[in-house]
Point group: C2
Chain length 709, copies 2
Amino acid sequence: MNQALWLIIACGALSIVYGVWAIQSVMASDAGNERMREIAGAIQEGAQAYLTRQYTTIAIAGVVIFIIVALLLGLPVAVGFAVGAVLSGAAGFTGMLVSVRANVRTAQAASNSLAAGLSIAFRSGAVTGMLVAGLALLAVSVYFLVLTRYMGLEPSSRTVIDALVALGFGASLISIFARLGGGIFTKGADVGGDLVGKVEAGIPEDDPRNPATIADNVGDNVGDCAGMAADLFETYAVTVVATMVLASIYFSGAELLMPMMVYPLAIGAVCVITSIAGTFFVRLGASQSIMGALYKAVIATGILSLIGLWPVTALIVGMDTPLTAGEASFTGWSLYLCGIVGLAVTALIIVITEYYTGTNFRPVRSVASASITGHGTNVIQGLAISLEATALPALVIIAGIVVANGLAGLFGIAIAVTTMLALAGLVVALDAFGPVTDNAGGIAEMADLPEDVRNTTDALDAVGNTTKAVTKGYAIGSAGLGALVLFAAYTEDLKFFTANAEAFPYFADVGEVTFALSNPYVVVGLFLGGLLPFLFGGIAMTAVGRAGGKIVEEVRRQFKEKPGIMEGKERPDYTRAVDLLTRAAIKEMIVPSMLPVLSPIVVYFVVDLIAGKNAAFSTVGAMLLGVIVTGLFVAISMTAGGGAWDNAKKYIEDGNYGGKGSEAHKAAVTGDTVGDPYKDTAGPAVNPMIKITNIVALLLLAVLAHNSM
Amino acid sequence: MNQALWLIIACGALSIVYGVWAIQSVMASDAGNERMREIAGAIQEGAQAYLTRQYTTIAIAGVVIFIIVALLLGLPVAVGFAVGAVLSGAAGFTGMLVSVRANVRTAQAASNSLAAGLSIAFRSGAVTGMLVAGLALLAVSVYFLVLTRYMGLEPSSRTVIDALVALGFGASLISIFARLGGGIFTKGADVGGDLVGKVEAGIPEDDPRNPATIADNVGDNVGDCAGMAADLFETYAVTVVATMVLASIYFSGAELLMPMMVYPLAIGAVCVITSIAGTFFVRLGASQSIMGALYKAVIATGILSLIGLWPVTALIVGMDTPLTAGEASFTGWSLYLCGIVGLAVTALIIVITEYYTGTNFRPVRSVASASITGHGTNVIQGLAISLEATALPALVIIAGIVVANGLAGLFGIAIAVTTMLALAGLVVALDAFGPVTDNAGGIAEMADLPEDVRNTTDALDAVGNTTKAVTKGYAIGSAGLGALVLFAAYTEDLKFFTANAEAFPYFADVGEVTFALSNPYVVVGLFLGGLLPFLFGGIAMTAVGRAGGKIVEEVRRQFKEKPGIMEGKERPDYTRAVDLLTRAAIKEMIVPSMLPVLSPIVVYFVVDLIAGKNAAFSTVGAMLLGVIVTGLFVAISMTAGGGAWDNAKKYIEDGNYGGKGSEAHKAAVTGDTVGDPYKDTAGPAVNPMIKITNIVALLLLAVLAHNSM
């Protein structure tokens, strides 16, 4: 199995090689005229300044947590935390560095052709995608190798498990900060800039006279690129870790233990290669359909993965090897089929999300047509679509659970979700070109490039809205499917500790913990978990409103103090807007990020005080499922609804229902503004929030066990 | 115990007597000038026409279901269904009849003083309130008496239990139709009328030139009065029935069986009296605070109930009687304390809802202040508040569960929620004056009464918005607390059938059904249940948008064909708008109403096909909790958010942030429009939807058992 691990690490390394190659290829292309480079420079500077500050703040929190983890659970576990955190940050930061350089090159290329623009934008997105998947795979596999081979620990020992879980925690913590901080920054700029620019001053989006316009472009990079990368990094890492933990529990002591723990990593490795291969299939057909070009990559990657998973399963597990995990009996063949379930769920979520957020289908068009009768009906229809859009993805996830469970029980579900996440490289690549084209459009506008450049980038951007929604639906969908896996890790850990109470005396008086719905504390836990996404969403929305309000005031002040700005004679002070948002976003991200970290701990100790340890463990366990039961729907509704609003505006701007400047367009702008914090701040942050709640609960168990020895 | 039952029936009858007296007292007051009476006549006619048509449609569905129930479960059960359905309809219809006569009298009285207006409006609301509580109490207690005494059935026999459950089902079915149909009617009129009137034609709300204005006033009566009455009737009936069913299970065969089944009815009886007494405490103080006047009634009723529950518990249960229900051991004293928990939960929900929807507090003011920067920020802030507003009520419900469970286990929770609902008479009275004053304002506007009459009715209406949100929060809160009770009824029934499989052969091969969260089918059930409120909400919102769109077209057509309308020379055709909405509302209410009825049945048989009976019962059981876990938050967020938007508009109209006609006001109107279907259609209909899902599941068990004998 050591050879297999080295091969896996080589696949991870390959993604870095691909990244370096793709970066060079992007950088080699024409960076446009001086004005364009100047604008891009301002965006680069702002993005770098913000991210440096954000990661510095997170680093301070991280060091504190590192010390706490080291004291409570030992150094190897704390190092796991650091590995997850640092590599997650690295993936986001590098992605952003490429993205802020690709934007101007995309704008330049788009003046040649749609295909050229798509090519550069997509390649830049692919850098982020492959780094996310590759670094996450490397983080887990290298540290696992170090722990088991060089430190000589048993693969199923508590230290290895705790260290892996802590790695996931590190990634999750970065992710929630990055998602929220980036989300508040980008949507504060967007909402505030639009309000004061489009609505008050009557100047178009991305007009260089608007002092918030650079901040808006910075936001695309720190929110939609770096924030998203951190989110998917953690989703990937946590899923793989949870599957490995489950394998360590189910196959502890068995000969197959090591292969079963390596298997999820191997799935990740093969899919890194198929994803890289898939990126070369992105090609505009005769129809010039951008979504069609992207679908080619998805289909190619899917088919290649389907083929590639076969030998991997045969070599590592063996197709006919009889396996037993918990109450389920199955073979390697069943696990291969579970992998296919994961691929199918991914494909269906992509198709469903395209339906709900694409401009060609009923939902977006119904929002656009509701704009004719005004702001109110636009928002009502958008909310209706956002609520409705949850049903089909939920049914797909439910079907995935039922089928995978039928094939190989809980472990089958874990393999399905691991395979789903193994495609993260490609999915992120599909998404990360969005902010690049959005920026390219902004640069085209500010640098006064010809109208058709903007049209090209707008077409790319509309597809970007859909793929952004896809990524979010995919991330939260995997969380839905993975909920059972994380919950199983919690219950199995708990079982282990209570069964070995002589070693872990804290658990001596716990007794058997039940998670039956007839236990009132289970219902209490479901409600407590259920309220987190709502409260969290409320706080995040308020934060965006507040940050947007500050931008409105700042822009108004600049317009008042420098009347030359509106006449185009004076240059607005872009930096101030960026600085102001930086401070606001960093400040606003702290409280909501702490909510999921502290909730399981507070709930545990409060319930323990009232009703004892047994009830407290039941409550926290049920809370882990409660947070996903509401979180899944809240997140999907917000991200799909926001995408629909955005594209309904784009649909009208394409000349429908009166086009730009009509009353319908104004109503659609309102819907887009409402959708902004929905889809880019509150909605996507729900996914890391769910994960953190789960992982903190696992760590809480570890801490209680460790410190009672 | 028969004496006790007769006393309970007498208390129920007393509420009818109160109703008759209050009706006479309302009717005796001045009905205003001829123009006012003419307008009121049109509203009466429209409301009566709509309700007749709605109830005719429901009656057709009802007769079909009656026959199905009779065939599947026998005549006594079908009669239970009919009793629930007919009395629920009667409460709503009578309430509406009074309401459409009190509106014009309130307008007339408001021209004298605020106190006089409040007095008539409140008394008319109290009629609806007392009829709801009284008729629900009578329905359950009389039919229970008939079944046990005159038909000689054992109180814990299957027929009695099934008949009581069917009574709840009848009430629920009426309720969901009435909530949805009424909600679509009222908000279709409101949204459509506002859009075309306020926004397009630039005429004020309730302007007689707007052809939708009578329909809008009709809507208040059929939606907020009749619909709400049916909703609370079912909440009351289902809660009492579920508690009685639980008593019959826990105390089956015990000497205390009959007293324990009568005890919930006795709680209802004493609280009818305290509620009636409470209505006499509504009095404007020197501060002229309307909310203050209503609080006096709440406090008086609360204290009187606190006192009154003591002798009732002592006489029926005995304070020191040792009791055992399931695993919990307690005394009558514990049950009394559970009653206090119910009162406390009610009080806290009222206070929290007032905080989130009252014009004096941060939330509404933050929405109002966000209106300054435009439509988008108003909606964002409203959504943020709506999400945030779920946290405190959920915590109160959680605390209620924990405390009541600690006192007397599941049966304690049932008693707490029964006591909570026992106050329905007063809570409905607080709410039902809202539509009356809303109508009074409309009549004042249309009949050209002096400005200060409108100001008086507006002040009453603003408080009405808060009390409306209170009632909805209270209904859904009780559903949250009652979820465990309904779920327990399901599991205990299931246990009973599987344990007696020789009598019920269908259950012979089921085995032990588990509801542990580690069972994948339980998670599947939670997700399936969780998606219902979202899908349902989406459909309901779309329906309102569609109905509103039709009104916009109709009004535009009338303005075009009769240019004299806008000049005040020609009379608009009010009836056509009412007819059009009637057809639209009846048509649109069918599909969403069937969703919760069919879901448990379809899910059961589909899962049975895939994975067998055991998995199917687990899935359906978990679904019952899933629907409440998301439904609680969806409903509270919608009703509180909608209330906040509405009152933010009112706050601006009071002269803040530029007052009427300002840009902030326009943004606030948008928020109000968005909040309309949120708070008056989708949100409140979630409560009956949850109940129906639960009750259909119980009936499904009964049918499977009955027809396998």
